[in-house]
Subunit: 327 residues, 2 copies
DNA sequence: TTCTTTATGTCAACCGGTTGACATAAAATG
DNA sequence: CATTTTATGTCAACCGGTTGACATAAAGAA
């Protein structure tokens, strides 16, 4: 039997004042005697009063909630990114409403529609879906990460093209003659393609023919493994692989073992992301590290500015190469 | 200049009906002519009307929000767990408010207090903090995962003791003579200690002396590495290690390399958790796998039951050993 | 023809806080 | 002593939906 929750009138009655007075104590507004404050606080304590956040939100027209829409949270990169976002938002008094789109447009749209109902004060988006026009028709402050969502949504990205250059250059410097790249299917728009472009440009400059194998983020692991095995079968001459993320790089390293290739002697590998979790489990992996925590900080700062009504423009942050031993 | 949001009265005026009629269309209540429905929907479309979720929540006294309080999300185990929880909750019409306590009692308490203000319909908790009495003083439906929060909060756990037995038994079966264990400091209450107890019990039965090194989840990686190096220095005779989580197992494998130990020839390793991300990056690791997805499903089902006012009791789910090659 | 039942719609109270407008008394100022 | 300022508190409207109670008309049943 749930007993009726205590409301502000109950506190007022208990303390022998009006509800406005209680509200004033709660919000520290106007003139109040210490005596009154004490009385009210005692009453609140006694009744274990908890102000109803929803009622306040309705009046104030703000929820202090920010929605995060990302493909998933079960991934070293997105996990670290969302953790950093949550942390930074919390510092500024915001709580986080998490939505994993799982690259399911249906889910993303439904999620978005709900949040647009003045359920959140702002949105940070890193999901891979296009064709969701809701993003354009809203006046809700939005910032996107590594993803172009709509003309009027500022983007925080890292320098993907340069990352692609760094990775490819490293393999070239190592003397690799047959460098292969893995990336998303080209019809899925993601900033990862910048990495591929850099790879292709640089490889052509060096007279090599770029070869890209397509591995989708959402493919089941078994399929990813199958594609990678195919690389070794199709191109036994491969001596360098630039993977567009560290998970794929990890798979490549494992499968190289199956094919009796020693790393880095027979095969050099460069990954991408450099998230903490991967750095811990695969410290030997040479990878391009994105400044995940800074990206989160920047995105939150930009969102805050937009919520405050300021205009902000997109930013690009630098990446760097981390030397493991695989390249 | 933010234009005033459209409210239900605007739609009513546009459609030439009362606001109640609009609300009925929205909620499909009572009798409505197709004609009226069409009129109203056209008006909503035309004005791009979005019902204010907060107002509805205030009246309905439910938010369809569930709070998740966990130490962090940037971890293979918790990442997968929270992803599964989000997924399952979404299926049932709930959205997720995420709170990472980072094992900071201050943050956890503050977070909790806010959510208790009828901001969420329920709570799923897996944070490591004790001494937070707010958990006991609330009538909010709560379920905890792998954590004893309060007498009246049901727990979903996996069979940690058996997990400890399986891991230790495997190392014994492999013929290890000097088995060492890593676990939390003993003053931090966590179900991991069950794993340690199993290890100690079994080892004593076999006439070996249990030795546990303490590595806290929140220790910086450098410190974790230092502790692990100490193991090899203190006990060069070690030939088997049972780590209380896969991240530590990964670190151990790396550091074993530093000390020129071959795995599994010189040193056998068994980890714990068996989360997807770790399985992908370290498929060679033999580990005790927790049924993460089932734990999430179970927890959500239990929470739903509690929200519906039903009584539920704690559950324990089985674990199994996954054969990699490290033991 | 009278009484139900069905169809359609309106009114106003309510959810639980917040705050502008206003009242009153005491203290400070001229 | 009159006037302004400071201190303290009350009233009622408002945020934006939802819904029980109630009105009215048309169709069906007795």
């Amino acid at each position: 039997m749930a007993k009726k929750p205590v409301k502000i009138d109950d506190v007022a009655r208990e303390a022998g004042v009006s509800k406005t007075t209680v509200s004033r104590v709660l919000n520290q507004r106007g003139y109040l005697s210490d005596e009154t404050i004490a009385k009210v606080q005692q009453a609140m304590e006694k009744l274990n009063y908890r102000p109803n956040a929803i009622a306040r939100q309705l009046y104030k027209q703000e929820t202090k909630l920010v929605g995060l829409i990302f493909p998933t949270i079960d991934d070293p990169f997105f996990g670290q990114l969302e953790a950093a976002l949550e942390n930074e938002l919390y510092r500024r008094g915001y709580k986080v409403l998490m939505g994993n789109s799982q690259n399911n447009p249906e889910k993303e749209r439904s999620f978005l529609r709900q949040l647009l109902n003045r359920q959140v004060d702002g949105l940070i988006v890193g999901a891979h879906n296009q064709a969701i026009n809701e993003y354009q028709r809203t006046s809700l402050p939005i910032v996107s990460i590594e993803q172009i969502v709509s003309r009027n949504v500022p983007v925080v990205a890292s320098d993907n093209y340069n990352g692609g250059l760094l990775a490819t250059q490293r393999l070239l410097d190592d003397g690799c003659q047959h460098i292969i790249h893995t990336n998303y299917p080209e019809d899925i728009p993601t900033p990862n393609h910048e990495r591929r472009l850099a790879y292709e440009d640089l490889l052509r400059q060096h007279g090599q023919t770029p070869i890209t194998y397509h591995i989708s983020f959402d493919d089941p692991v078994a399929k990813k493994r199958a594609i990678i095995r195919q690389i070794f079968r199709d191109h036994p001459e491969v001596d360098g692989i630039f993977a567009d993320n560290d998970t794929n790089a990890g798979l490549i390293m494992n499968i190289a073992g199956e094919f009796k290739r020693l790393i880095p002697e027979d095969l050099r590998v460069v990954g991408y992301d450099g998230a903490n979790a991967t750095r811990v489990l695969l410290p030997q992996l040479t990878t391009i590290q994105q400044p995940i925590d800074q990206m989160a900080k920047r995105a939150v700062a930009m969102l805050q500015a937009r919520i405050n009504g300021e205009q902000v423009s997109s930013t690009m942050l630098p990446v760097k190469i981390i030397d493991g031993g695989t390249a």
